[in-house]
Symmetry: C2
């Protein structure tokens, strides 16, 4: 059973930062301190950084400045090097100690020594935070599973295994890109309605999927399952994840072995790893299952995980079309959802993944599956009911699916909570370009 | 359109080796020269090697001996370093030049200088040849697809997409192990016949799948498809692949997103990379599709690929049970098949994989899918007809599925061909141990 989430002075909502833009920042106040990998035009070697307001604390510069006490020296040295695998492999106590040092430094440190270590965020080029060697996408948003199931299998929307098995599949690692990287519209095989033979051409039903991703910190050896009560504790942090999907390709290719080319052309993630430690105040009890639903099998149920394994986070997806951009308009909201809608906790997803002895490695990425609220689904497929009901956008445009030039923007914030400063994930965004 | 396979003096069947055990060796005569990564107890740093008879040529020792002419120096230096990604990324011309040098050295070189560079194969500990970052398993054995389809979906064995889409899914990279690594029987969720709720426990229907794997050598950038005529040319070499499968887990979990825990607990590969160059004499025309089958869509069809893109290779699976081992018996044959039974060429598989812009990387592993001949299927699921017809083994044992203590051994050899020396892959073997 995991311990109660540890709250320390780094979470104090009264804490202010010597970086003025951090105070009241919706994503990166001093209570967040997410880790990422960045470079600049002037210093192109990727290195570790921490987001604080609209600045990035350069961890390599901090390491070289010699401001850290010996007890966090090893953690700082690891976090200063890109990618962040070695740092997260050090485990939660090392992350917690470094976080506390950084929090004290960025709130009560000497501005004359700290401010020179900051880089304006708009000058930072963000890379992938980890050398990701495994990517698994789950399907834990039950509302999404029901919505999509209804479109793909009207008579059989939720399959009999759904409430017992945290359904997931292996995704493609090589096409994961950080926020800001354009997405090329994929080509693919699709079968026109009524036709017997398929055709090959640009995807006509390109979609986004609004997800949260979790990064594994603590590995397990091959052959050794992870108790569900230890599942959450092995996750180092979280990001936003857009699981781009070619719906017309997917419906033709997905049987019997699941999605493949419909998904593996691109996955966009937000570049900042919001740590499990930063989210400690927002760990909540898993919502009870609806009456009549079966209890999870014993290897997927733990009292501590049920008490503290859910995350009180709200997510949203927005669109900025070419026309909206030209008109100087703000992005328009498409989807809004809550992580509370996940049928399984991340601890259950991780324990299920390792339950057969599959070994997870530091930096592995686990996607939640699309987060759909009953009245605000997390993909255009659901919003437009399979293209039948185009979504109206400000300015008179409509969308059934994503068009070239559209930018999709995902965001996530903790739900307001008494006694805690809200934190966020920063943007996960990408513009779609034409097929080759 | 790819060029006609290049045959040079390294393929000459009359060529003899100064390593006596190589002459007439069923797998590793001087005409093969597969690359691998090995270490020894005395020299535990992994390094590149080449199999020759029952010996391994130590490429690091060869590099240090200074016997190579300058024009192959860079290729030898890359091949001497483990893993082999950097070497295979150099491309086919560099591989061909190094192969020719090694062939000349191991046939006509000075024994006094060459023999000290050899390590007995039974002293070599083989590792994975590549840093594998992507693993995709296809389903190109149409006989297997029909056999399994009949068991999983009696009324609908071959789905309508099969003859248009080279069906595949992403596998798990972290659990790929070289031949000789024991496999731990997985735990998993299964639903007993007639029950509504599943149970969790050791897999009761553990199976092997007899496959060939292809390693990508030449990468393609994200967003840029690969013409099918270039597909085969981007493959650097091949291995045997056992896609271990938990059938009882698979049938319960696989809908709608495909196999996951039923497969990702272990994949065993043979450690020697038989190069595309070594297989040049065994590249043959793809068998014509049965009358009535649709032609591949244009992006999956190329005259050169059809003329030279199939491989004339025979594969087999054998079993050695604990009782057979105790009795000193030989392994018993379970499956025998031909790569000619693949419905798609490896060139078509690779081109399909990249057709949506998905980027493939050097060292990526592509599995063929199970190779089943009509009268000799490549898995126990098929052989025992879903467990209904246990297979009789010598000594009076029977098997419906793999039991603890069983060793499964895969082998592959080229089909005898006038004017060419046959070559093989070496063993791909693993013993199954009990669940944790």
């Amino acid at each position: 059973m995991p311990q109660t989430p540890e709250i320390d002075r780094s979470h104090d909502p009264a804490r202010r930062s010597l970086v003025a833009s951090a105070d009241g920042h919706p994503d990166f106040p001093v209570q967040n301190l997410p880790f990422g990998v960045f470079s600049t035009a002037a210093a192109p070697v990727p290195r570790g950084g921490v987001a604080i307001g609209d600045m990035v604390l350069d961890l390599a510069a901090l390491r070289d400045a010699g401001l850290a006490p010996p007890e966090v020296g090893a953690a700082l040295a690891a976090a200063a090097d890109a990618p962040l695998n070695a740092f997260f492999a050090l485990g939660a106590p090392a992350r917690r100690a470094l976080r506390l040092f950084l929090s004290d430094l960025l709130s009560g440190g000497d501005p004359a020594r700290v401010l020179p270590l900051l880089v304006p965020m708009d000058q930072a080029r963000m890379g992938l935070p980890f050398d990701i060697r495994g990517y698994t996408d789950f399907y834990a948003g039950i509302q999404h599973a029901m919505n999509v199931g209804r479109l793909f299998r009207p008579d059989n929307p939720l399959l009999p295994n759904y409430k017992y098995v945290p359904i997931g599949y292996h995704g493609r690692v090589s096409s994961i890109r950080p926020s800001g990287t354009p997405v090329v519209r994929p080509l693919g095989q699709t079968r026109p309605p009524g036709a017997e033979a398929p055709v090959f051409g640009p995807c006509a039903r390109l979609d986004y999927e609004l997800e949260l991703g979790a990064f594994v910190a603590d590995p397990n050896p091959l052959g050794l399952p992870v108790p569900v009560g230890e599942g959450f504790g092995r996750i180092g942090g979280f990001c936003l994840l857009n699981d781009w999907s070619a719906r017309d390709v997917q419906v033709w290719e997905y049987q019997p072995l699941g999605p493949f080319l419909a998904k593996n052309f691109a996955t966009t993630i937000s570049p900042w790893v919001v740590t499990a430690e930063a989210l400690a105040p927002f760990r909540v009890a898993q919502d009870p299952r609806p009456g009549g639903d079966p209890a999870p099998l014993p290897h997927l149920w733990d009292a501590g995980d049920q008490a503290h394994g859910a995350l009180d986070i709200e997510v949203e997806a927005l669109i900025l079309t070419q026309a909206m951009r030209a008109a100087g308009a703000e992005p328009a909201l498409l989807s809004r959802g809550s992580l509370r809608g996940m049928y399984w906790t991340f601890g259950q997803l991780l324990a299920h993944h390792a339950s057969n002895g599959c070994n997870l490695e530091t930096g592995d990425l686990l996607g939640s599956g699309t987060i759909s609220d009953p009245d605000s689904p997390g993909s255009l497929l659901e919003l437009s009911r399979g293209g039948q009901a185009p979504v109206a956008l400000p300015g008179g445009e409509t969308r059934s699916f994503v068009q070239d030039g559209d930018e999709i923007i995902l965001r996530a914030r903790t739900r307001p909570r008494a006694g805690a400063a809200g934190i966020g994930f920063g943007d996960c965004r990408a513009v779609v370009g034409p097929a080759p």
